[in-house]
Every structure is written in C-alpha cells, then in structure tokens.
Subunit: 656 residues, 2 copies
C-alpha cells in the first residue's frame, strides 16, 4: 500500500475527482442506490426514480366552473334582455355547484347571477329559470382533462419533488410515488485530542464540531446521517467501528483530528478494508484528503469511503468538492446549482502555484458593482465560513489574483441579501458589532459587514469605491485634530466628498492582566525590561495614537519589547493579554472589560463614521442611519452600556 500511496499523493483536483469516479464506477457505486415507494405526505424533497404518468385525468369529469345552472346551449338560442327565455328546472336546467359534474346531455353553465329563479307553476312543476342571453357551448365548464390527461407525462425522472408536485401527483390519481433511496452516511470523528461540545476544556483539547457541520451538509443534500461518537487514536477500535459503519452506510467518512496520529490511523483503516484511489489532492485548503472504496467483509457490498482532513475549513471544502456531488448523484441529481457573480477583488490574493485554491470572500454591492473582500485566516478559521458570502476559485498554476481584478465568485448568500448589505471597511470598534446586531433585528434582511483593516485602510477603500462607510479615528500629529487631515490626504485628491458623522468618543488606554501584576501606570512603563507589549498593525488609528503619545513623551519605540508584533483588532490584543503571552497592549476599555482584564486609561478619542456624500441619503444606508440617529432606537443607550463610550455626538454631522 505504501508504494501505491506515494503515487496517489497531491494529484490535481480534476485527476482526483476522475480517479475516485472511476473506482466507484468499477464498484457499481456511480448510480442511484435503490428505489422506494413513499406516500405523498412523506415525499416532499425526495427525487423521482422514474417518469410519472397520470393515472387519472383532472378534472376526471366535466365539471361546472361556477355555481349556476347546467343547460343545453342549443336550447338557449335567441334569449335576449327584451325576449327572456324560460327553462324548466329539472328538465331544461339543473342547479350545479362549482365542481359538480355536468349532467349527461348538458353542455353549458349559466352563472347563478345571470338567471332569475321563478317559482313552481302548472307549466313548470319544479320551477324554472329566466335567462336574458344565450349560452355558448361549454361555457363555464372545466372539461375533463383540462389540467391533466390520463397517461400523459406528469413529472420526469430525477425530479426533486416540490410542494406543488405533490398536488399534481394526487390530482392525477397517485397516493404514492417511487423515489430514490436516501444515501446513508456515517461520520466518524477520530483523534485523541477531540472533546464533544459542552465539555469544559483544558489546553490541548479540541472541540469536535466537524461532524456537526458535515452531518448538516449531508442532510441538506438529502442524506440520512449517523454521527458516531469521537474515536480516540486506537487502531483496533477504529477499525471495528469503520467495519460496522460500512455494513449500514453507503458513505463512511473518517474525519481525522489535526494530530499526525489520527490521519495515519484513517489511512491504515481504509487500507485494511479496501483501497484508496486518492490520497492527497493539490488543493488549498484540503491537501490531505483520502478517497476510496471499502467493504466491511470481502463479500460485502462496496461502499464509498472518505478521509476528510481535520481543520474545519479543509473539512468543509473537501466534503463539498468530493462528497456532496456523490450524495446528489446517488439520488439522480446533478451538481448543486451555484449562482456565480462578477465582482471586484478588494485586495490581492497570493496562491501557491501548484494548488487549486478556494478563498472565502464577503460580497457587497457598492455603487453599481459587486465587490469581493477576501477573508483572512487559514484552514483552522471556521468563522471565515460563517462570514463568507462565496468562494473565489484561484486555479492551479496561477500565482494569485491582483487587487482590483474582476473575479467570478460562487455565491452562497442570496444575491438579494448581498444587495442589502452595508459594507464597512476601516477601523474596528466593538460598537460596529452591536450596530450589526441592531440592524439585523430592526430591519430583517438588512445586514452590516465589517472588514477590519485600520483607519487608513478604510479611507483607501472609500477612495476606491469599495465601501459604504469607514470607521476612522486618525489623530493628526500636527494639529491634534481627528480625521480632517487624513481625509484631505487620502480622499480629497481623488474627488471623493465625504460626510463625517459623529459616532462615539471612546477611552483608549493600556489593557493589562487582572490585578495589573506588573504595576503598569503609564506609557513610560512600556520600556521596562520586564514588560512585554503587543502592538496594533500599521495604519490602525490606535497605533497612530500610540506613536503620537510616544513622540510627545519622547519615548523610543525601539525600547518597547513587542512593538513590532501586531494584531488587527482590540479584542485580539486583549486576548493576547488574557492568555498571558504579553503583559499589555493598547486598546479600548470595552475590550478589556469583555475579557475581564484591567485597564489603564490614557486618553479619549473621537471615532467617526466617514461616509461618501453621494451615499449619505441613499436607501441602502437609510435603515442603518436611522438606528444611529434616532435615540428611540436604543442603540446609543446600548453603546453606553458597554462602558468607556461617550455618545453625545452620535449621529451629528461633524463636517461634509
């Protein structure tokens, strides 16, 4: 097996898909798995196993389309308003409700509103009706077969049944329908470091959630899923479980933890029970995927098996590329329908040349065009799947994509939702998260997406027309003023007129461990040899504020241990302090409070929202601005409750 495995390693995506498909074809696993008959109330979402023909016509008789009187059209000729005609009830006219069968020999219906009912008389012992117009043959009759003619094709094979299809099946005389059997999928989490959700964790424990994610994906695709308990790195136990799972399931997925051991165990298990067609694919993320065919017993049925990598993004990407198409094909369905859109890439993506790379992006509409913001974070960052609206595929042998390039994005978020997105690029502040939550609750369907690139990054995004607003707190060292100089530097030359909207004044200071064990009191303490620091990235307003204060106090940055290490958000700085990795970092009070840390206040600063003047009165921003500007929305009060924020100028136009 070892020799063979070497050849299987790191082959290209299309070669891997072809190799597994060929192996499955040879094992008879390339077609729907079987057929079962279900009643209509259990058939929604299932897939027809063959064409369905109508057994009955619908209507299955000539039916009155109105409440009225069935008549013989020929006997109504000549009736007019001036020469009304009498038709005897019982013989020449018969009352029919909507849906009633037309009596034999009758061929038209007169609406009840157009017939005057007369009492019984000697000439008309059952009464009569008086009509003022002739009836056309077949008027107000739904002829037999108007909807469905018996024997005609009602639904094709391989059709996923929608609500209306159930109605058509019933109308055409069916009470049951033949559908493809649902694939059964077993997911086996393996790895000694894994613990289930809800377990109190200690360092080294990894919360096992891939089986939740992959299981839900498989169920969405129509499969019946068994999530097995976590298997620690015990070869014999894993082999026994895999063998048992192969008896009952069409696809068995081993999802290895990230430790080296668990991946090796997966390979040994698959080799013991079958053979791998693929081990290692040149994609990023997702390299170490395994794909094969195995059997519980030598004479048992062949099953598909997959070894899915442990990092969560790798797991989702490989499961979507390899397993979901299989689950659909087993139900007679084509690959999932994906909406693709053209978008402008907001920053460059660098790719290793040998791999097909799949990059998660946020998508919004600014002005007339869609923009795609690549999400940072490696294969371990599941929130990139949560935040991502779509996937950019960077093909093998390209070296990446330039900023500003037009790219095609496979959208996951509905386009209408993308269009209802406010794009904020700029400095991070926790109040933006709060604003996002308020917007989602008060204006369902609207959302705020934030990309945290620092204040200068936000102004540059406005300049390129890639954002609706930028959070900004740039102190001008010369004037001591906020934002005005930076706007003049970055936006005015390009002719971008902006409104500066007051948002918060917030307290900046040093985030320190609880109890402040190092006794840090002022910026001067940062130069002490026993104090380590974590900085913010270049372009961040907080870093500009630090540099301004260092210069003012004549402190050399080179004396600060950790000045060169950087994080991108206040919370990330606070997390570094909380973990004990560093003694302090600069940030806002709310971040310190959030992680139960102590805080040494240094100064208060303005945090404004910079909004292009052309968008300020737009419908896109209206719900968001209403939240900010209307005190009754409760937003300002919620910001104050965070602590460290002054909202006196919230919603005030400061310039523009």
């Amino acid at each position: 097996m070892n020799d063979k495995a070497i050849y299987l390693r790191d082959i290209a995506l299309d070669a891997a898909q072809a190799a597994w498909a060929e192996q499955r074809r040879a094992a008879g696993l390339d077609r729907p798995l079987g057929v079962e008959r279900v009643t209509l109330d259990a058939a929604a979402g299932r897939v027809t196993a063959g064409p369905v023909y109508a057994r009955l016509s619908s209507p299955h008789y000539h039916a009155s389309a109105m409440d009225g009187f069935a008549v013989r059209a020929a006997e109504t000729a000549g009736a007019t308003e001036t020469r009304p005609l009498l038709l005897a009830l019982g013989t020449a006219a018969r009352y029919v409700d909507t849906g009633d069968p037309i009596p034999a020999g009758f061929d038209a219906v007169i609406m009840i509103e157009h017939a005057q009912r007369l009492p019984a008389s000697a000439a008309h012992p059952d009464g009569a009706i008086e009509i003022l117009a002739a009836a056309a043959p077949w008027q107000y009759i739904r002829p037999m077969g108007e909807d469905v003619v018996a024997t005609e094709l009602l639904l094709p094979a391989n059709h996923r049944l929608r609500p209306q299809d159930l109605g058509a099946l019933a109308a055409a005389g069916h009470a049951q329908v033949d559908v493809f059997r649902q694939p059964r999928v077993a997911i086996v989490p393996t790895g000694s470091e894994l613990v289930p959700p809800g377990t109190p964790v200690k360092p080294g424990d990894i919360i096992e959630y891939n089986s939740l994610v992959l299981g839900a994906l498989a169920e969405e695709a129509g499969a019946i899923v068994t999530r097995l308990p976590i298997h620690h790195d015990d070869f014999d136990a894993l082999l026994a479980s895999a063998r048992a799972a192969l008896r009952e399931h069409d696809l068995v997925v081993l999802n290895a933890g990230s430790s080296a051991g668990s991946e090796d165990f997966s390979e040994r298990v698959f080799s013991a029970l079958g053979a791998l067609a693929v081990h290692g694919v040149a994609i990023r993320p997702g390299h170490p995927v395994m794909l094969g065919v195995a059997r519980a017993d030598p004479e048992g049925p062949a099953r598909a098996v997959a070894g899915i990598p442990g990092y969560p993004v790798s797991a989702v990407v490989t499961f979507e590329l390899f397993c979901l198409p299989l689950l659909r094909a087993w139900q007679g369905l084509a690959a999932p329908e994906r909406v693709e859109v053209e978008a402008t890439l907001t920053r460059k993506v660098v790719s290793p040349a040998g791999d097909d790379e799949f990059v998660r992006v946020c998508v919004g509409e600014v002005g007339e065009r869609l923009i795609a913001m690549p999400l940072s974070g490696g294969a371990g960052v599941i929130t990139s799947l949560v935040k991502g609206d779509g996937v950019l595929h960077v093909p093998r042998f390209s070296e990446g994509v330039a900023q500003g390039a037009q790219v095609r994005v496979a959208l996951r978020t509905p386009l209408s939702r993308v269009r209802n997105t406010v794009v904020a690029i700029g400095s991070h502040d926790m109040t933006l998260d709060l604003l996002s939550d308020f917007l989602g609750r008060r204006a369902p369907g609207q959302r705020l997406v934030s990309s945290h690139v620092g204040s200068v990054g936000g102004l540059l995004a406005l300049q390129r027309g890639e954002a609706h607003l930028a959070g900004c707190h740039l102190l001008d060292e010369a004037s001591g003023e906020y934002n005005t100089a930076a706007i003049a530097q970055y936006l005015t030359p390009g002719g971008v007129d902006v409104v500066v909207l007051g948002f918060t004044r917030r307290t900046q200071g040093l985030i320190v461990a609880r109890g402040n064990p190092k006794g840090i009191r002022a910026l001067g303490d940062l130069t002490r040899p026993d104090v380590s620091f974590i900085n913010r990235q270049r372009g961040a307003g907080t870093r500009a504020l630090l540099d301004y204060e260092l210069k003012r106090q004549a402190i050399s940055a080179r004396q600060i241990r950790g000045y060169e290490r950087q994080e991108f958000t206040h919370l990330a700085v606070a997390a570094q302090v909380a973990s004990g990795a560093v003694d302090c970092g600069m940030g806002i009070l709310a971040a310190a409070r959030a992680l139960d840390l102590d805080f040494v206040p240094l100064t208060a600063e303005r945090y404004d929202l910079i909004i292009p003047a052309a968008l300020f009165d737009s419908a896109r921003l209206a719900p968001l601005l209403a939240l900010i500007r209307d005190p009754r929305s409760g937003f300002a009060a919620a910001v104050q409750a965070l602590g460290g924020y002054d909202t006196a100028q919230m919603g005030v136009v400061l310039s523009g």
Copy 2:
C-alpha cells in the same frame, strides 16, 4: 358581521396585507412567538433568537500549527546551514503535534522536516535537535483567539443557522443555542365533495391535495404542520375542529373546497371565533381569501386565521402572498429571497384591470436573452405550478402585457437550470414528452420544456428567436410536401436559416370510442348528423392535414358538427372522446392507445424538428441531439414501442 364583511370585500392587495398586519399587531401576533433552547445537532435551519457571543476563544490556547518542536525564538538566533545550532530536547526544544499547546515560555515552532533529531548524549541526556535556520517569533503557532475571541459577536439575531454556523457555535464554547419557536400551523380541508388521495373517484369527487401542498410549503418555511382530516360541510363539526385547532396552533387555515357551501361555512366559523380583517382581495387568482384573528375561547390566546380558496392555484398564490411572510416573520426572518430576471414575453397577457394578476410562466434562454412563456390554464390547473419557472406580476390597473414586452419574472427555478433548458415551441407530439424524460435521466441538470402552439406557432417562435426548436408537420396542399413551403413562407424572409431534422413518421387518423360504436370508417362519416367531432386549433398541423383531406375529398367543413370546437393537443382530443363528450377527433395512434380508445388510421405524415442552423452545433442542444441521433441511447426504440411511429429517418438532416 354581514355589514362589515361587505366593506372587506375585494380590496387591493396592499390594503389587504396592511389590514391583516394591523389586526395582528393589535393582537400581539406581529412578532416572533417565543424562544426555545436546542442542542446544536437539532439547530440546523433554526433561527437565532438573539445575538450569540463567543464564550470561549478558538483556539482557546496557543496551538502548534504543525508537527514539530516548540522553541524560544530568541535562542535560535544565528543558526544557518553553515553554522547549525543544537537545542537540547526537554529544555530548549519540546516535541509538539499539530494542535498541541505551546509549552509555557516557548514562542515558536520549527517544523519536524526542518529539524534533525540527534540521539541522547552526555551533554543532552534527552537528545537534541539540530536546526539550520533561526525561528521567527510566533512562527507556526495559531495564537489563542485566531478564529474567535471570547465575548465577540459570533452570530446576529434573526439568523437562520447553516451547517458552518453550528461549527462556529461549538468552537466558541456553545453546546446549545436559543432559537425562535417554530410556528405551528393547522390546515383543515373542508368540503363535502373532497376525497383523500388514493380513493377510487366518481364524478363530482374532488381529490383533496391542497393540504399536502400548503403543508409542504409551510414546512419549507420552518413551520410544524398538522393536516387535519377532510371536514364535510357540517358547521358544528367544523366549528369544533377549528376551536380545537386554535388551542394548539398559531395559524389555522381553513381550505374551502370549490363548492359555495364550504366557503360560507369558513366565514361563519371565523365570525363565531373572531373577526376577519379581510374577506376578498382584488387579485387573480385568489379573490375569495379571508384573513383574520380568532380565539378558541374568549380568554384564550389570539391566533391568526386564514380562509384559503379551494382552487389549487388560488390556494398556493394566496398562501404565498399572505401566510408564508407571516410564518417567516414569526421566526424573525424577512420575506423570502426571490431572484428576479428580465425576460421577453412570448405572447400577450390580458388582465382584468381591477386585479393584481399573477401569471405563471416558463422561462428559457434562447441566444442571449431570457424568454418567458405564459402558461395557460385557470385557477384549477395545478400543472401550471408544476411547469412554471416563475411568476409574472401584472399590476392592478394595467390591462395586460403585450407580446414581446420586457417583463420582470420572480424566478422559482434556479437560473442555472433555466439556462440548461432546451425550449421547444410548436406542434405537440407525445414523443417530445418521452424525449424530455430521456434527457432528464441521461443528462441530469438538462431539461426540455415544450410549449404547444401548433406547427405554425412554432415556426413563428423560431422567427422571433424565442425557441431552440419547433416540432412541425405542415403539409403543403399544393405540393403534397411537408414543411418546406411553410419554412419558405415564415422563416426565409426573416433570414432565419434552419436545419430540418427527421424525427418520426406517424400515423394520423380518427380517434373513436372503444369498439367504435358509431361505426366511423372514413372522413365522410364526419358529416353524419349522429356524429360529433372535436377539432384541433388553427395553425396545428393536424388541422391542416384534416383540411387538406377534406378538400381532396370535397367534404364541406360546415357539415361537420364540432368543427369549430378546438383542443390544443392530441391527448386532449382523446380525452374528449374518452369522456363521451364527442364521438371522434383527429389525432395520432399513440393518443388513442394511451386512453384505451380505438383508432381509424387515415394517413402517415412526417413530423420533423426544425432547428435554427446557428444553434444546430451549440452546446445547449448537444445532449438532446445525441439522444436523438445515437441509436445506442435507446430513444428510437422507446418511440417505436409507443406504436404508430416509424423512426427510420430519426436524426437524419433532411435539409439545411
């Protein structure tokens, strides 16, 4: 109640929506119904009841991103290939697997491939590693909080949970999540004429399937549905059931059969238990909808109630307009996302001026543009919902839409599927249904949509660029040739070059009742006073053939009883004969066989596929043409099995 009801009748759509919304607001039914806590494995598809913040960071410790050795970066300075550095295992370097915590005091990881392991020695009792390069601080470490920082906003409120969200929740320390309670919906079918699916039917019975369709729609929208058994028109029983349903459900839907009685009962029940805000809306279909609020007991909780009309298309249209948005709002969701596209209307739509009208259309892509084909059929034709790809909304006070107009269509079928559609407009033949079935099975994702407008209608559609192919069997009276003269007349002047592809030769004749009780033997019998006939529509090839034969045999059409009544397909003609409404009609053998009727053959005719030359080699048509032209596809054999077809020329290019 009666006076009030009059004012409620036939108000405009927006007024009706506003009136019900106001009534629900007053009753506290305008917001989510409650919150429940569910475990993550039961949370997919549910909607968050509040913002979710991270409890844990992820990673919750500094984790090794590689298998290798944890080191102190400062102690690796100066290592190069020419000056390797030794680090003692245990003290200066410690082995870590991917995911392992970084030991306290260590701050970098060297990949296992970049370290040479040396055996234990006197100087290094636990062994050592030799490295050839310095390590940068924090290299190959996933810092705590790289993915999620504890306390940060993970998911907003009103967010429908996707598979990846479950992973993020677990990663951030959640094992459960608070979600909005699912609305409970009761659907009560009412009407004495209703019978459940699977019941042997007699004239007047209507198969009850609206509860299946509405129930599946409500479940798709996230509701828990109770479908009650059919209620006959018994006021007391219906009142008791409605009262019981109001105790347990948030929305109670009475779905009245089409008979006058059942609708009246619904109104009386709602009036007894509550009040209607709306009775009758100016929409088509769906006029007689009722919307209100009711209570099981005077002190019981308020519930929403709806009386949904009995015709299936009316039922679906009104349920989608009024009830689905409510079910979504009750779960904190905005109106469903609809994809809208611009399309060219292939034939005019006439609308009553006072109503908002909703017209179901098929959509395909021909050349560069989308075309929308209105589906005929009234409120009783559920197959229009099955065939329809989308809905055209003709607003109130417009009088319709002209042929060729650009319209906006709310798409239900994914756009990618619309783009994989072959559009056939022209003469109907049952072999097109068979072709559609073969295509769906052999090329999943591809489909054939047929619109039956007769042979001339098909050529006109090709001329306007609205179809990919047209089935055509037009006999030229002068030459006795098929299709050539018609192509010269309708297509050549517009410069549309076409390929004539041989498809079938089929037997045309008279479809008569089983046993041929009227002894019909030839066309001459149609003039007998005891024989009634049903014709095909003008422009149909079958009608042209009839006229040609009548002329040849010098028979006057005016002597044929029923010559002026017309149907649009062979099967519809056969259904008329089968129902006993007429004695005979002209059509194909397969239609007679399908309904177990007898057949008097008259002649064989050519039925060709006319395909624009520009499309003949297109990728769009390739899978379909492969089925027709490759005998191994089995399609020709399946056509022969229908009876009455000669496939000798199938797939042969006859001209072009």
